[in-house]
Amino acid sequence: MKKYLRITPEGTKDFLFAECAAMDDVCGRIEKVFADRGFKRVITPGIEFYDVFSLPCSGISQEDMFKMTDNKGRLMVARPDSTLPIARMVSSRLKNNVMPVRLYYKQAVYRNNPTLTGRRNEMMQMGVELIGTEGVRADLEVLTTAIQTLQSVATDFRIELGHAEVFDALSDELDISEDYKEKIRLSIEGKNYSALNNLLDKLSPCRAVSAIRSLPSLFGGEEVFEKAQAICADTKAAQALDYLHHIYSNLLSLGLGDKLIIDLGLVQRNDYYTGIVFTGYINGIGDAVLSGGRYDELLSEFDAPMGAAGFAIDTDAVTLKVLADQTVSYSDKPDVLVYAADGCEMKAIALVQQLCGEGKKTQFCVLPTIEETRRFAELRGIAEVKIVE
């Protein structure tokens, strides 16, 4: 039988030296933002019951999850997302806590992606959840934290903002099945104008139909609101638009200019979003790096109804970008190598500690002879070899 003992599974990789340094740098910067804003870290288990993620609103299909069973035969999965476990945790462990709570996480998620697509099956993510309240203040807190997070790791980025209610309110006005609604939602998500038109042409024309038709093209700056208000006047979507406009006007004071985009065609795959939704992009990364929004209904699924909002950032993608840009300096080379003659080992180790204390990168040489020590120093390019005898 063929043994796979020297390779890693597809979609996973080892992180070595500079890669870890870049990851630590990226995560450290983000962690500082989260901590400064008062978010406290939590860790949830790497494996969870399948049931946590099988909610219809989870947006994670079963073929995307790595599954296993426990010793009672119950179905388990390698955590494919962190928001659902946190909702589970808050609904039980923090049920009687003073609300709202601010949580952040830094942990990998696992997805069983199709093979040979080059996608990562293990992804490090960081994110925050602000749970136990709703409204403008909470939304602004989460959004400005997201923007600050992007700013901490990139200069050329975009953040786009939408509202889940816009599409929901408009599609509720149509007499269509959930399946059909989902097809329409997917075509808006993919900005697939021809598929969207085909779907809408089959419905009897009304205001909601023409409003939905224009959703994917409603993205840009302030001017979007004017166009959208004209289309959505007197519908429930109009309230959502007013709210979004209010949030947008507040964010303008950050002076982000073109970096802040409104996209009314932003309908997230995760059905649990109920209010604002947003996505972040960084120049040089071909996929969204940050995504989040308000999910006020999710906690009810765990019998603890309360408002909540949050976002996650794909720190692996940012790390790869930082490595490619070579903006983090990294060296694993010590300045000094200390060799101990037989019997002088402890004296040499003490010297290493002393030199390190003085700020010199110093290593105790573990090779047995002075010749080998000099050869090693030469191969690694270590400038100085000290001998203790």
Binding site: G190, K191, N192, G220, G286
Partner: protein, 209 residues
């Protein structure tokens, strides 16, 4: 900033796309005299064209190494996952069809039907919608052969004129979906380079209508 990069499907779609680009005023001489080069400048370095096989166009766009792509709907249906489909370019038109040997009643009986196809995902989705279990066999070459030699009950394949089917005693019993060339965009590119992409999209839209 690096010019926009567009992946084109080699062959027939490439030719028509180049004609379109010329129509909207871009100089495509470099692409027409490409020799063996695979990355070519267009116009006054307004953008770069990359030539690739259909399925690879999607891969390059999805990973963001190309901002835009021109690819057939058939490939999108078979391989597609996450990107924006911006425009139906209206050329490269044909259809996916379910075909069987002439004068057979495909849907009769309770036995599980066997379908030969080059497009297993399209076939799977088509019969899933009908809640029908079928056995799908992937064929790499001339699919028409499969029902003739008794490998399958029918085929799902691209039909343009239908003459190959006719010559082999097969007939279309159901149309699956229409196909034409599409303009696709990487999701991040559309946000990060919105103005450039929208400008090109509008120009293309004007000449394809």
């Amino acid at each position: 900033m690096q010019p926009l990069r567009i992946a084109l499907t080699k062959g027939r779609l490439e030719k028509t796309t180049i004609e379109l680009l010329e129509k909207i005023g871009y100089n495509c001489d470099e692409v027409k005299n490409k020799g063996r080069r695979l990355i070519l400048p267009v116009g006054n370095n307004d953008f770069e064209v990359v030539l690739a096989k259909a399925a690879d166009v999607i891969t390059y766009v999805e990973h963001g190494v190309c901002d835009l792509g021109v690819v057939g709907k058939d490939t999108i249906l078979e391989h597609g996952s996450s990107f924006y489909e911006l425009l139906d370019l209206g050329f490269g038109k044909c259809r996916f069809a379910l075909a069987t040997k002439k004068d057979t009643d495909f849907y009769s009986g309770y036995n599980t039907k066997t379908i030969a196809t080059k497009y297993p995902n399209v076939t799977r989705a088509f019969f899933d919608d009908k809640n029908m279990d079928v056995r799908i066999i992937k064929i790499e070459g001339s699919v028409e052969l499969a029902p003739l030699v008794g490998l399958s009950d029918g085929i799902v394949d691209i039909v343009e004129t239908g003459s190959t089917l006719k010559a082999n005693g097969l007939e279309v019993i159901e149309w699956v979906t229409d196909i034409s060339a599409r303009l696709i965009a990487n999701t991040a590119s559309l946000k990060l380079r919105k103005r450039e992409i929208e400008e090109l999209q509008k120009k293309l839209e004007a000449v394809t209508k």
